[in-house]
Symmetry: C2
Subunit: 156 residues, 2 copies
DNA sequence: TCGGATCTGGGCAGAATGCGCAATGGATGT
DNA sequence: ACATCCATTGCGCATTCTGCCCAGATCCGA
């Protein structure tokens, strides 16, 4: 979908002030309330705004460790079947099929480094994965920073 | 912070129905409105709810390609300085310091595979990075699935 | 130049919010 | 047993926002 600068400004407003109302946004941007409504509806309908929900942060409730695990899967099962199996483990936050030496990459949260071992054991115990190799995130500089990209897309 | 099952149910409600109001949530959960308010305020104050904002999805506005880039940084600069430099590139969505052979891992969005090359060139041109190696996400099975983990934390 | 899409400003009923309050209940420490 | 603290409850009230409708103005692409 094509987005323009007004779209980006709307998203920025609602991102920076979570208590922003549509009416208040329309006042700030000096457009009609119906316009803000319509833009939001359109962006949600087209998936430009994928979700708009409270985001639990594992670091804040006992899971300070994040690791990226590269998995080689059991070839008897497909990627989809394996990802479905992994989806049953709550510590698995994210799964992609990737290019390169491995088949899948998973983002995993854990209570500690030794707890990460426990989660990896659970993953291996499913028999869906035959090999894994992990990289631990020692420090997260930033995440989910999609707003600048939206603004870049809006400019041209 | 400690979360209980009511906290998790509240987050789940607001995640599944974006038009959920605090009043409606209190009716569904059969608790007082003030309780839902207080729980939300507490979770936001403690960072359990890290953000509550419209999430732009790069795939929906012209950036269907996602790659994870492992970067070796110029040792004259620190990790923080390099991540700040990377933060000026809108296509860089996420940056972590990681264990293993590389120094940083970055999530990068791009318009196409050849556009990814352009972004990588921009990254290298900063002179903050001396080597990079990328893994392309061919298929994203799921992302940002933190709710099951919150519920697990609430149970135990 | 025409037609469709978008933006505008307005109104209106219903709903939700922000705020304050006193009473209740449960857990804890002495 | 008792006092204390804190979360929860139910209530009311003024203010604000939403959802929905409309007619007219305006913009943009075919």
């Amino acid at each position: 979908m094509k987005v323009d600068e007004l779209d980006a400004k709307i998203v920025r407003l609602f991102t920076e002030e979570q208590r922003m109302s549509v009416l208040e946004a329309s006042r700030i941007l000096k457009v009609a309330r119906a316009t803000v409504q319509a833009r939001l509806d359109r962006m949600i309908a087209n998936g430009v705004i994928a979700r708009w929900a409270p985001e639990p942060e594992p670091r804040a409730f006992g899971f300070p460790v994040v690791a990226f695990c590269f998995l080689t899967i059991n070839q008897d099962l497909g990627h989809d079947a394996v990802s479905k199996t992994l989806a049953e483990i709550p510590e698995v936050i994210e799964v992609h099929t990737v290019s390169g030496d491995s088949d899948l990459m998973a983002r995993v949260a854990a209570r500690s480094n030794s707890d990460l071992q426990r989660v990896l054991d659970i993953i291996m115990a499913t028999k869906a994965v035959v090999r894994s190799s992990s990289v631990i995130a020692l420090n997260t500089h930033f995440e989910g920073r999609t707003l600048p990209l939206l603004e870049a897309a809006a400019r041209g």
